[in-house]
Amino acid sequence: MNSNLKIQVGSLVFKNPILLASGTSGFGKEISQFYPLEILGGFVTKSITLKPKKGNPPPRIWETYCGLLNSIGLENPGLEEFIYYEMPFLEKINTNIFVSIAGESIKEYQELAKNLKNLNISGIEINLSCPNVDRGGIQFGLDPDILYELTKSIVKISQKPVWVKLSPEVGKIIPVVNLVKDAGAEAVVIFNTFLGLAIDWKERKPVFKRIFAGLSGPAIKPLVLRYIWEVYEKSSIPIIGCGGIMEFGDVMEYILAGASLVEIGTANFINPNIGKEIILELENYFKEERIEDLVGLAHKRKEVSL
């Protein structure tokens, strides 16, 4: 292990900046057949809800140019099954485990937080940004009052580090991240998927039953980086970057733009070893320097010559 990769975010220390993103590695068992999850800086679970959720009907995924549209709809086993069947495995992994939570009401989020309180996890990631469900999800993330109240109460109830995962639909992002910070979150996760649409032109209808779906993958990287840059410039909350990270160089872009940690999503589908492979490259690259010193470095190196 290379200690130059160590980085602190809020009250937690991460052995390296690489996490796996919510909903792209389930509860860890599958990927752990490829490499031990403890080498990761952290792991974020699939979002869980209070009750089990069947998710959306097929088709649930559709490929676009360098992108993936998904309409999974938060399929998950629910809190109870999660605690009984998934936690025992997760608990034993020697890295930061974040449980992602999603609810249809503030009360549901709170209920989830209450039940996670005594578990051996590092923190909670509030998913306020799922585009594929009817209630909760993205709408909550777009209402400043709910956003603030919700975050604040989860911070209080859980008494653990709380991250808030935002949607690109937020639009003006600075007021939002400031709210989140004031509410006590230790970091913001930028972003969940973008809203997108595909038409099956041979069938002459929308691909997805819910019409819109969430766009992830390499296509979105430059769009997300733009917000990472902006938030780093104008706010002081630590940033977890997420969106389109496929390779080592992409991680470097996120770090230099201002992200302290990154989450790898869709890339796990294309290469289940990707987490390990990127960490090895980081260990190699950071022989002399500390990754911490590179966070946001590109801001100091802009030559504004307009």
Binding site: G26, R60, I61, E63, C66, F269
Partner: protein
């Protein structure tokens, strides 16, 4: 599990239909019904890996039978011997083999014959095999030779009658109850009709298809409505028992 293999050959055996043969090194032990996710390009367009059932595996080579459908399979068809492909395999469930002396039927539609042909290769001696395979139109004998040779009874149909009987394959199978096991792979409409016709659904093994995001159970993309719960085809399948699914 995710490794690089060298192409031995990749040739067209019929219109838009190819056999891809890889050197089996590093060695893969795959069973009939199981599949591989193939990374087509050394780029992110197409983005996702593509799933293909094993068609034949020996100690030296691995074969796939595939049809050019869209961009991924088109690009795959342009690969040549000595090119290398990254492959995630073996994945998913397999067809359970019958006991000696059982009477079984194998029902394949279109490219669905790929895993069934592999199943035929591995059936124990003494099994009585009834094969029924259907296509839309005439296909090369290379595609069905294995079925003809290995089966005790063999029937081929095409919807336009250009080869074998004219019509849909299921219309030519009368009594399904006489078989100890029924193995099927093909279009969803065929599987559905078959499922409805089979009384004792525990005898039925079908291989399902759905768009796959990952092949290993982490994207939850490959959903199929199960009887009790969601089935994820890449993990709970592709081969499922008739009792697990719900076609209603």
């Amino acid at each position: 599990m995710f490794r690089e293999f060298e192409i031995v050959k990749n040739i067209s055996i019929d219109k838009d239909i190819f056999v891809l043969k890889l050197k089996n090194e590093p060695y893969i032990k795959g069973l009939p019904g199981q599949f591989a996710m193939i990374r087509i390009n050394n780029s992110y367009d197409p983005l996702l890996l593509r799933p293909f059932s094993f068609y034949k595996i020996s100690s030296d080579t691995i074969e796939f039978l595939y049809q050019v459908k869209g961009k991924g399979t088109y690009l795959l068809s342009k690969k040549r011997e000595r090119d290398r492909l990254r492959i995630l395999a073996p994945l998913g469930t397999n067809f359970p083999l019958p006991e000696k002396n059982e009477k079984i039927t194998i029902i394949g539609g279109g490219m669905g014959i790929a895993p069934l042909s592999f199943l035929l290769d591995l059936l124990p001696e003494g099994v009585k095999i009834y094969s029924f395979i259907g296509f839309y139109t005439k296909v090369s004998k290379k595609l069905w030779k294995n079925f003809e040779e290995r089966s005790d009874y063999f029937l081929i149909t095409t919807e336009d009658g250009s080869i074998g009987e004219r019509g849909k394959i299921l219309d030519f199978i009368e009594n399904l109850e006489e078989f100890n096991r029924i193995y099927a792979c093909g279009p969803i409409s065929m599987l559905k009709e078959l499922w409805k016709r089979v009384e004792d659904k525990s005898k039925l093994y079908i291989s399902l298809e759905e768009r796959m995001g990952c092949g290993i159970g982490i994207c939850l993309g490959c959903i199929f409505p199960g009887k009790e719960r969601n089935l994820h085809i890449c993990k709970d399948g592709p081969v499922v028992s008739g009792v697990e699914v719900n076609f209603e």
